[in-house]
Symmetry: C2
Subunit: 167 residues, 2 copies
């Protein structure tokens, strides 16, 4: 693994978010991962920051609240379609997803949450701010499309402590 | 001006945010711009999104609330140090900044807020969500550093309707 800047892997992040998604890992003793298709990256509070969104109902939400750390792992091009589909609909409450899918975890450098094996690149993040979304000031079309039943996202702002490209 | 993807100009955005900043323009009939050193970009709600932060006390906050549109303009490398410094500390309540600095506005393609002349690249955005920051869940060090007197930021999530590279 080589340390890189966030700009070096942003195009990969954006490309995969627009296609089948990336993996977000949370939890340390019993890690879990979900598929994400939303994230933003840049600079806030003078720090490199990645923002991810997790619905209140999600198992990952519990894991985030417990540890306030996460990693985002970007698949290699054209790979892991099955894994992304599985992690997008199955809950870590019901499955040990890594075991089900034959994936392994790799230790991260700066956080206790691991990285997911077989990926192309990854971000390690520590939550420095979070805010629960609400319907006020939300575009009506987005509300109708994503929040008909409520279950709003919590927006987690993670300081990016390291970015990697895998070998 | 050439239309480009957000990934093509993200490295320029990140680089300038880390140095002297970029310009954020708000308002249509009487536009104003401020210097920003914070922003994130990516995908949320299935849309390309740029998030910017504006303190409640700012003149730009009034302009954003009135129109819900903004542009972010990235300077050419090594230029506009004076303009970025001026726009970072002077208020549009007291100055017509473009006039003071001899800059002109260019019409944008998708929003009624203009772009700023003499820049290298720009984003055009329409606000689809906003949320006021608050001290709950904010890292203590950041609270101490940026919000001693309150005056929290409103986080504006703008759908990126166009990205440009200037000729």
């Amino acid at each position: 693994m080589a340390l890189v800047t966030q700009s070096e892997i942003f195009p990969q992040l954006e490309e995969h978010l627009k296609k089948r998604g990336c993996f977000m890992v949370a939890g340390s003793d019993a890690p879990n991962f979900m598929t994400i298709v939303w994230a933003t990256a840049g600079i806030i509070w003078g720090k490199p920051i990645m923002m991810v969104a997790v619905r209140l109902s999600r198992y990952t939400h519990d894991k985030m609240d417990a540890l306030k750390e996460f990693t985002v792992c970007i698949p290699k091009d054209g790979t892991m379609a099955k894994e992304l589909a599985f992690a997008g609909v199955k809950s870590g409450r019901d499955y040990d997803k890594a075991k089900e899918l034959g994936l392994t975890y790799l230790p991260a450098d700066k956080v206790s949450v691991p990285l997911l094996s077989d990926c192309a690149a990854a971000y390690e993040c520590k939550v420095v701010y979070e805010t629960e979304m609400h319907e006020a000031h939300l575009d009506a079309e987005l509300r109708e499309r994503y929040y008909k039943t409520g279950d709003y996202h919590t927006l987690y702002f993670g300081e990016i402590l390291a970015c990697h490209k895998f070998d």
